[in-house]
Symmetry: D2
Subunit: 356 residues, 4 copies
């Protein structure tokens, strides 16, 4: 594990729970080593989460032959080099989003890692929210018909303070602001549910003078399937702590989700007098991921999405199956970055995707 803070905690917790909640687990995770810049903090994290050792040099993890999976939860500037090095060392790799600081770096990570043949996953954990996965399954089953609209916004509100400082505000470490942090999630959900983006017409916005990265981004969007909608990401939507909200409208039905009602999917089907959105609490026995957890009506939490996500990765490793399409690969990470870069360029942009 690279990183011991927010994502380090989330991933470590998931590895622990996979061992007994997803029973039998595809692989029994062993927490070998954890790396971080602050030697004291990373040592405490190793003690806390049960890693065998701590190190302040990620190269020690890359060199450790006992490690089969390298999980990169470090800041964005530490995504490319360690992830590529780990893959070159033959380790499967998980990398937090955004994959790189822009489309070029993301493409390079994908290209070089893909060449090694290891399994790679970009950690878009919202694919593993039960409601989001159920949405994907309903769409795949044709329940929505021809898609007309997709709109998504990822609203947070912690960024509106000139005195705040974190690596997330520094261009060299973060690459971008709300774009890389939130818009990537929005675009990944859009692509996961509605396919590739064809054009964007929008812009990025920085509210705080002197801030190196964007605070918000807005776009009108066309998809390759002919549907249209909007994309939004912001750290300045006061009142919305962590609201990933999306809606998709098709000729036969529609779906809507708001992460402020984490457990629920809103489902509309054309019908008779009983016409409207049905609030589905996604915890039934035949709902995604429910087999790992509790009886119907007993919901999981945000942290549990990582259990689903890393279980998926371990399963792909154990059974040599594809990470795609239910997990995001580095190709997905790269394609999100192309959309984000196009929004930053501003005005109307047609998307062009590179291939390896």
């Amino acid at each position: 594990m690279l990183g011991y803070a927010f994502m380090g905690k989330a991933h470590s917790n998931a590895f622990h729970k996979i061992a007994y909640m997803t029973w039998p687990p595809p692989l029994e995770p062993k927490l070998v080593g954890i790396a971080g810049r602050n030697a004291e903090a990373v040592q405490e994290a190793a003690t806390r989460y049960g890693y065998e050792y701590a190190t302040d040099d990620w190269r020690n993890l890359v060199a450790d032959e006992r490690i089969g999976l390298f999980d990169n939860g470090g800041p964005n500037s530490l995504h490319a080099e360690p992830t590529i090095a780990a893959a070159n060392a033959g380790k499967h790799v998980v990398c937090e989003k955004p994959l790189g600081r822009g489309a070029d770096e993301s493409f390079e990570i994908w290209r070089q890692v893909a060449a090694t043949g290891v399994k790679h996953m970009c950690a878009f954990n919202y694919r593993f929210v039960p409601a989001v996965r159920l949405a994907r399954e309903l769409i795949e089953a044709g329940e929505l018909g021809e898609i007309r609209h997709f709109r998504v916004r990822y609203l947070q509100d912690w960024g509106d303070d000139p005195a705040l400082d974190t690596w997330r505000f520094h261009a060299d470490e973060a690459g971008s602001g709300a774009i890389g942090d939130l818009m990537t999630h929005a675009v990944d959900v859009a692509r996961f549910l509605n396919g590739e983006v064809a054009t964007v017409s929008g812009f990025a916005k920085t509210f705080i003078p002197g801030r190196e990265v964007d605070d918000a981004a807005e776009a009108a969007v066309e998809f390759e399937n002919g549907s249209v909608g909007t994309l939004e990401a912001t750290r300045f939507a006061h009142g919305r702590r962590n609201a990933l909200q999306w809606e998709i409208n098709g000729t036969k039905g529609a779906l809507a989700f708001d992460m402020e009602r984490f457990a629920d999917l809103q489902v509309f089907k054309q019908g008779g007098r009983v016409r409207g959105f049905t609030t589905v609490q996604v915890s039934e026995a035949d709902h995604p991921f429910a087999q790992h957890w509790w009886p119907p009506g007993h919901v999981v939490g945000w942290g549990d999405t990582f259990v689903h996500e890393l279980h998926h990765m371990l399963d792909a490793i154990a059974n040599d199956t594809d990470v795609a399409p239910y997990g995001a690969t580095f190709e997905d990470g790269y394609r999100c970055a192309e959309v984000c870069d196009a929004i930053v360029r501003g005005g109307r942009q047609e998307l062009r995707y590179r291939t390896v």
Copy 2:
């Protein structure tokens, strides 16, 4: 009254109710004449709503000296000529939205009517939803601080049928589709609550081959006050019958509204542990328009917005006060049209407004 269908019914009902619900009324409306193309239908409407006479030629209304207020609820192609003629005849005028079929026609209506000195109102009735008016008052009182975001979408779903035919799908009669019908409402609410639009980056979309008008429109938007967001209007959002949804986020608070919860305003204020959106049912004694109606907790309906709107117009006439800023004038109708035209042009557009 010009028009006897949907808007003719809505306006006639309002004139009746003003006489006893808004007590004492600023003026006692007398329903003199009603005009429409179908002689039999307009005669039935006159009987039904209690107009003294029916006519199939609106010029008869313009020529009738007893008529002091000309209310135009006809199709868009009948907005310009009758409205201008009535104003030239010295009558105050109400005209349904969109004011004209595009910015040029809208400008001409405004320019010529303004020159006559009569009162003019563009019938953006959603300004007269109690929740929307309360929002305006809270914003004016500075409760939101500096505005960061405004997003609005007007979602309907009745247009997705190639076999449907109505004047609303014909370019000559309607001028545009979802743009003039719905996006004007969205833009008017945006301007009413958040001020002028500075740039739009978007496009219009027609899904049905051969349809003469747009089915949907999408845009990213910057406002003159520095806030950013999205605009959307569509007749293809399956599952949403009549969902005008908007949200505004400022440094001190936020507001949200969904017409599917017609009576409610969502209000967020920065605070302590009790942090979140408050659902305000806008029917308290000190809430807008409540003095005309019932005790707290007894809500009004969609049709009652026209009572508020036309009461406002009668009050402006009786007391020679301004229709603006709580009512929309023809200048507002024109400015909305400029924003709409800019979306239709596509890509990034800076707004330029003409003045008279």
Copy 3:
């Protein structure tokens, strides 16, 4: 019309709107006379609502041969005598709820009026909320299967002030407090949707020392169909202005309603993965009462329930059809009173209903 205040306004507005909104109307209402205790106030009401004359003696209305329908919206102590007198004079009668001040008086009103052969309606207007009527129709159609539960609470919060004084707090004028005012509505909805009450186990409660009437009432309830649940009515539920909330659960489905979301019915049907309550905005073309109003998605308000209710009464008169089962008769008014009295008696009570 007897009464010019809250109910006088609500009923007068309805008679006006019936004339043109429910087209063609079953009968064209003519507002002949209005009675009330305060001569000045009743005269202003006559002017305002367009009654031909005002009187401070209801006997003048009873004696007026032009009056065919006597609508009693006076205080509870004025329900029995004028209503019975009007019926004896051959007039059809509408009487506000509660029918009488307790079961005995209610029974007498029913017995004497029924003997005259006129049409009688007890004005339980919530039967005429579109969502409530749709619920009734779905239940009649067997959509819920065998009923297991019905629970209802009518929550208001205006009564918690020792300094307040109104006729509603005086035992001689009101008969009871929350019981007659709110519990009657709750019980009527229960009976309308789920049939007769078999037993209640509960009590009434007065919070304010010296207040002559109850402030709240609570009961556990068994219905004749074997289902069980709770009944509650209160003027002390701070935070709830006018929340009539009920839910019914059957083996095949369930329905729920909250008057704070006036337009919506929540509908649950057993099914597959899409399992949950559907929020139905009751304004579709095939929904109850929609034929009188607007296109789908344009909701009516609280005041419009009286349009539906009095239209139903005029229709029964014009076509000599039964007020029951969709309207409440005086028998319904009496039976509600029996349930209410049983709650007041306290402890477990089996219901015994008298017949005429």
Copy 4:
């Protein structure tokens, strides 16, 4: 640990997570032994959750001197004897609800365990839902003023099948049905937030012929603080999987909760124009339990209530602090049973509580 099924899984997961999520933990849990009737299943559970050994005789756990905390998650008929034996052996004890099969058995468990001086907790985990704990803290701080009403219902829908069989339907193993399973939770929440119950007026109901236990229970209730309301518990509320819903109304404010919106507390405070319930997503830094988890807006799940609950117990053991009032003791378990028994007796019952 006694029990390896639903509660065994929930508790074992909690012990694992306490070790690293609540950092530093008050005590580092070691999973020594697990007992259950089915030798094969309990052995698999030991392997899965990491217990050192499995046994089909709980007496082996009682005899094991390394065990300091005995956690009883077995069926109700196995609550009394093992729990008392463990306490007599000097072990601290946690026992799932209901404490015993009725008030008499519950009293005996409390009396005998209290005599030993060990720490005891009855596992009412809903006290440890963040929203419920925040409610308690707001009430303790006087935010609600004088309480007028408390109503609670615990609605599930899995029981309406005559073919179903589980120990929960057998009188000897379960003692009761919805009463012990669900009403105890409802009563505990009521007591936790609103204090002691003074009278109940209600009944229990069995729908399925031949079923040995109750399927539902209904009651009107008075509290010692003078407030009144209703209690309901059922396994027959079709459409409601796991809906623990309660509301409390006081003179200065009100609170409401619905477990179908697990993360949220609804908070009403008297105020000005912005009047209504505020939806508080209970995940802010200064909200209960948040210090263990994620940034604001990232919610926990149902399973995490056990982390909070058992952390509280370990903390009480480590620091020799009281389990009460935030955790439920065996006295709380007993008092809930008295209320439940009173409902079963039917009609109006005044509560009498025994003391040790």
